[in-house]
């Protein structure tokens, strides 16, 4: 099958690669770049486990063809923590019990981080809208909500 050359910036690192045009960003991240922190489940945009940021926007990487990501900036869960320091949303998930089995966690955290990057003080409705596409079956969302409120509050106090 024919391959197309693409250039991706993933977590600040440039990658030059050739990919088949049908392959998704999710497959390329997990299989070619071994970035398995982005999780694979429904393959049809229903669960949000595969959420990554493309040019700062949260997208389902299972529905995003890798060739479409050519020349774009990708941020995955592996790139969220900087210099050994966790992102405030990651810290809050640990502290407030936002993690159980953890399989939805990377997608959830990336969705939340993408929202907070543009809306540091989201309303309850904005928060719900941003996260309603991430399915969690363990936590009932209660401690995730608690963690996010704490992270938002900490961000407010820091500024």
């Amino acid at each position: 099958m024919s391959q197309l050359p693409i250039q991706l910036n993933v977590n600040g690192q440039e990658y030059f690669m050739e990919v088949e045009p049908h392959r998704t960003l999710l497959e390329v991240l997990r299989e070619d770049l071994a970035l398995t922190g982005t999780k694979s489940n429904c393959q049809e945009g229903e669960c949000g486990a595969c959420t990554v940021m493309v040019d700062d926007r949260a997208v389902n990487s299972c529905l995003f063809l890798a060739v479409r990501a050519h020349g774009k900036r990708i941020m995955t869960i592996e790139g969220l923590a900087g210099q050994g320091k966790l992102h405030p949303v990651q810290e809050a998930f640990i502290r407030y019990g936002g993690v159980q089995c953890g399989y939805c966690t990377p997608g959830f955290i990336v969705s939340a981080a993408a929202l907070l990057a543009t809306h540091p003080r989201p309303t309850g409705e904005e928060l719900t809208r941003a996260l309603a596409g991430n399915i969690c079956r363990c936590t009932g969302y209660v401690n995730i909500r608690r963690a996010l409120r704490a992270a938002i509050e900490a961000g407010r106090n820091a500024t």
Binding site: T36, K39, T76, F93, I94, L127, I135, T139, Y141, V142
Partner: protein, 759 residues
Amino acid sequence: MNEQRIVGQAMPRLDARAKVTGEYVYGMDFSMPGMLHGKVLRSPHPHARLVDMDTRRAEALPGVRAIITGRDLPGVMMPGTVWDQPPLARDRVRYAGEPVAIVAATRPEIAEEAARLIAVKYEPLPIITDAEAAMQPGALLIHEDWASYKAEDGLVRKGNVCCHSTLHKGDVPQGFAEADTIFEDSFSTESVHQAHVEPRVAIGVVDSAGQVTVYSNTQLPYWIRTNVAHVMGVPESDVRIVPTGIGGGFGSKLYPQIEPFVALLARKAGRPVRIVTPIEEELAAGLPRHPCRLYIKTGVKKDGTIVARQACMILDTGAYAGSGPELASVGCLVLAGPYRIPHVQIDVYAVHTNKTNFGAYRGPSGPQANFALESHMDIIAEKLGLDALGFRLGNIVEEGDEAANGQILRGVGLRECLEKAAAAIEWGKPAGPNHGKGLACGWWTTTGGLSMCRARLDVGGKIIITLGTQEIGTGAIMGGVPQVVAEMMSVGLDDVRLVVADTASGLWDFGSQGSRTLFNVGRAAQFACADLIRQIKDLAEKILEVPADDLELRDGAVVGKGSPSERISLADLAKLDTKGDLHGRGQSYPDPAAYDPSRMTSCLYPAFHYPSFHCHAAEVEVDPGTGEVTVVRYAAAHDIGHAVNPTLIEGQIHGGVAQGIGMALMEEIVYRDGHVLNNNWTDYKLPTFADVPDVQAIIVQHPVEGGPFGVKGLGESPVIEPPATLANAVYHAAGARLTSLPITGEKILRASKEREKHT
């Protein structure tokens, strides 16, 4: 009085950091060099004779390395309570989605294409999809040879009924004769899926010497080992199951589905083989919750005292028995309820239909039976003009009471649960227009079974705990057990390392399931720590010249009781342990709960070990125009014995309630003529961030002797009460009594219209 330093604290779980950074390794993240990709070919028919199968075109496809059909496994049946299921269908398929062949190829899309190229000739047969119809005399038999199957001793089986369990106490006709009023209701529930976010996945490797290794995200590695060994015809000790990280299971990952397949394919292909079950197959052919019909009849005195209960529950168990026989007895116990009733007769049937074999979803049988029982309790209270809370309080079991099966109840915190949950939603205060309040209570088990553990004093005074079952997400293994160990060893949580061993270790475990994990694995860890402490003190005695009995562990050291200057750190002791002697062993096998066997027939799960008690209370709003239900507030009080980690406990309660809200209001696997119509997460509705309120978890602590620090099971119970709680609240909000799940807006509007017609 409370001298615990670690147990009782809301500490971060050991796996939290790896999970928020994406570093935690799940089953889905495994791959092997040279790995092939497997595909399961499934029957498109719910019932058919399998006349012929031609694999030649598939075999000719470049990249195909192995194809196996049911005819390659003559006579092999999967182990179980009833041995009724071949690993791959041989001459008959009994549900749409039943595996008929498996393929391994170099790429997933080649395996899929090969599966499509297998020509299967079916001869469709009539189907039965209604469990009650399947019970009728003369009904089409789904297993014509049912009587010849190997089965567990004492199971009452006949035709399509693979188990009829009964609980009988007192004299039920006499009880109804004594009653002033008799109430009768019927209910139905649909199947719902565990919807774990990580798919079911397994990788099989077989070497030339015949050693079989299977990597699986299973909750129950040793049962997978039994099944893989049996299907492959090799000794169990030649099979090694490596339990990987699990992205949610909720009972779905208890029973083998793809593990024998990857091992068979790997042996034939001579290469590792991986199979993932995609969502569309998982929803159609996984192991979801049993759909049920329930009939319940209660005799009550004028003052609200219950004198007699009769109930019948029909579990649609699907094409194969699976967990149905065991869950029939669980249904008996839930329907008898946590109530004092002198006369009780419960009959539960597990019945075959042409659907997938339903499995053990969190609290199996629980929410179905509780929905019927606790809706019925509210109907009775309403008709008698009694307060629903007061009616229950007048009939519930108390400390030292006998349950219907004759077991004596200890650590009964039910009254406190009822009172606290009700108070949390301001029970006595009237709700506003279109609002309504409801509650429901229940009891559940802490499953027993064997767990084994090793505790080792390692370099630097660290404690290494090795055990045989995986963290499933609850935090029992990566939160609860390490806290119990740190407490026992008087070290910091940072000083505990936890290793989940594969089955080659021989550390047998009954698995991460059944609300048993912290109780049993934690108990095994306690015993291992006690053994290690004895060894540590014996060594310290020689060094400190203080009798071992006068030594204690404190803050990472062994010190003299009352003479803290006599001291050696665990790190220094570890240095002296050059021969590697300091390791403790522990195994937990709690005595099964005593009950009265004369009251139970054909019951594989006849008692609730170390039972837990709970009450949920909710306020809902029903939109009068659309019937849409909003859960305004929700409180769940759980008597869990002793709270080892409050954050983890609350997390179990929140998550269980959310799943219960799903089952109550939106989730349903929709069958038509034996086919699943909604096998994707767009059409199968799951609760999202927008649907679940800030559930208030109320921790009630009536400890029991047996488990670590008095704990009882918690994992399953929070999913049991939400359907009844919400049905009762909806009744008060909309005036519509819904007796079938899920309670959708459409059903509420229809029931309201019916009611208007009749008034």
